[in-house]
Symmetry: C2
């Protein structure tokens, strides 16, 4: 009656996989380190073994007729239609690889399972996870932004993923908001170059240096600013540290400018913000929303909203499973 699927989030460090019921959410889950050294076919084997294990356990209590398939989110450029993954970062030795079909073959040969596999990139599956199970459920159209080392994005239009004509849509981190800004991955002044984790730390160091009264952040990282982290800055902001507050003010404001571009171009007014940096909460959300309003035409102010993601690092598994429920 109620369908179920296996959702997998493949990362450069770890693999997260779960049996997910369409109505009931995560039923069983597994985590393991990604065996990056074994290359594409090694990882295909690893994925097939996890699926085999989860399917075996789950099918003791769930009807195999209700099984909808395996969904897989992977880093890098994905052609969802062809099931091909290209140049995933943090997975050495991969170039262009037909991951969907290879996993499907391996499941049939090794595990005796003839089941459909759905593949998309990690930013898209996270956005789709939030759309179906998380903070995006109330929105028909939204952008999910993931703030971390990088700044990623996934677009949901009319409750479906918008992948774009070549499947590369949603790269908010590579939108340029400072035309003469710092060079990053060969491009000047991208949003990621300004609010990625490294940029936040660099800005904090700068602002601490420039502050006449200093900052309490030093205490949190043993006065070694090379060890400064966004988490330190969060704690300091919560303690009322003026410099830390100013850092988040600036980072939030830059995020708001980036989102304003999304509103101007696509008329999207709802934003789900996830990733580790989003833990700064109101310190980043408030200036971002404020700047988003300042940076958009009054005719576009109605309905502007930023909400925190709900699913944390489970969004990928949820979204991957949701691909199977289509």
């Amino acid at each position: 009656m109620s369908r179920w699927a296996i959702g997998i989030d493949l990362g450069g460090t770890g693999i997260k996989a779960a049996v997910i019921g369409e109505e009931s959410g995560i039923l069983i889950d597994r985590r393991m380190l990604t065996d990056t050294a074994s290359g594409p076919m090694g990882i295909v084997g690893q994925l097939a073994a996890i699926v085999g294990d989860l399917y075996h356990v789950a099918s003791k209590t769930l009807a195999s007729d209700d099984f909808a398939g395996v969904g897989l989110g992977a880093p890098g450029a994905v052609d969802a239609e062809k099931g091909v993954l290209s140049y995933p970062p943090n997975l050495p030795g991969w170039t262009v690889f037909p991951l969907r079909d290879e996993l499907q073959n391996k499941l049939r040969e090794k595990e005796g399972l003839s089941i459909p596999v759905f593949l998309d990139n990690d930013a898209n599956v996270a956005a789709f996870g939030e759309a179906v199970y998380g903070a995006g459920r109330e929105f028909r159209d939204f952008l999910m932004v993931t703030l971390g080392t990088g700044v990623g994005g996934g677009i949901v239009l009319n409750r479906q993923l918008y992948r774009g004509p070549h499947g590369t849509a949603g790269e908010v981190g590579f939108m340029i908001i400072a035309v003469d800004g710092p060079l990053h991955a060969g491009i000047q002044g991208t949003l990621e170059s300004l609010i990625g984790k490294k940029a936040i730390v660099a800005l904090a160091c700068q602002m601490i240096d420039a502050s006449p009264s200093g900052s309490s952040v030093g205490l949190l990282c043993g006065n070694d600013y090379t060890k400064l982290s966004p988490r330190n800055l969060q704690h300091a902001a919560r303690d009322g540290d003026v410099v830390a507050l100013a850092v988040w003010q600036r980072i939030g404001s830059l995020l708001g400018v980036g989102l304003a571009n999304v509103t101007a171009l696509m008329d999207i007014r709802k934003f789900v913000i996830g990733g580790g940096i989003a833990a700064a909460g109101p310190f980043i959300f408030d200036p971002a929303l404020d700047q988003l309003r300042r940076s958009t035409l009054p005719s576009m102010h109605e309905g502007l909203e930023l909400v925190p993601a709900h699913l944390g690092n489970k969004a990928g598994m949820y979204g991957a499973a949701a691909l199977c429920f289509g």
Copy 2:
């Protein structure tokens, strides 16, 4: 057999209207000054009279059974679904006005014509005109950018207009590419503030002042730089004037940065460039395409293309008519 429609381009200065055959293009056309002083209902009367006249003339040779309706492009924010026009610039006295239904009523009452009216904003109808009859015919997905006093845009996805959840999509001119840039319409560093007509002239004045060897542009505007126009700069560039060439290089490059944001976010790689400023041709197209490549990830380079619009100031009439052929 072959359908026909009346396409109207309503502007703050003039009204352009035409009888357009779905296969054969413009058959009859009319132009007149917009009677802005008479307010919304006055202009509705003016539009109804033009439609009445064109319909009367056309129906002598075209079958009324093949008549698809009246399409209308208007400046300002349009809710295409509801047929409502809000705050059109250059049309004093308008606020929020149900233009579609009012025109439909007037046509029935005054002209005895019970015909459907389709309304959209001018940037959208121009883009749709190019999509169906112009430079966009070969593209399934593209952005049309209109370069003039303002910088406007219309998005075509899967050969249909993408209007966005609230109908305001495509405002490329209000994308921010210089976060600490000049203030324009209340927003800092928008594309329009940097490459709109005024910005081009201001940049030229600056660069002429800064140039040790001067510029031949002075000769073209009687040495009165307050009279400098993009057209002067085009002529000077064609004559090899170094300063004029540098101005177009910079403007084209800024346009390329703006387009790069569209590629990053929406994965759109085809651009149709229209409007008076686009007449600068290769002087603006070449640096724009060059910068577009520099400002996008290598994985997005395939298929990047900029082409000039084909329909000039007829794009609006064509696109308005095309709304009726839907």
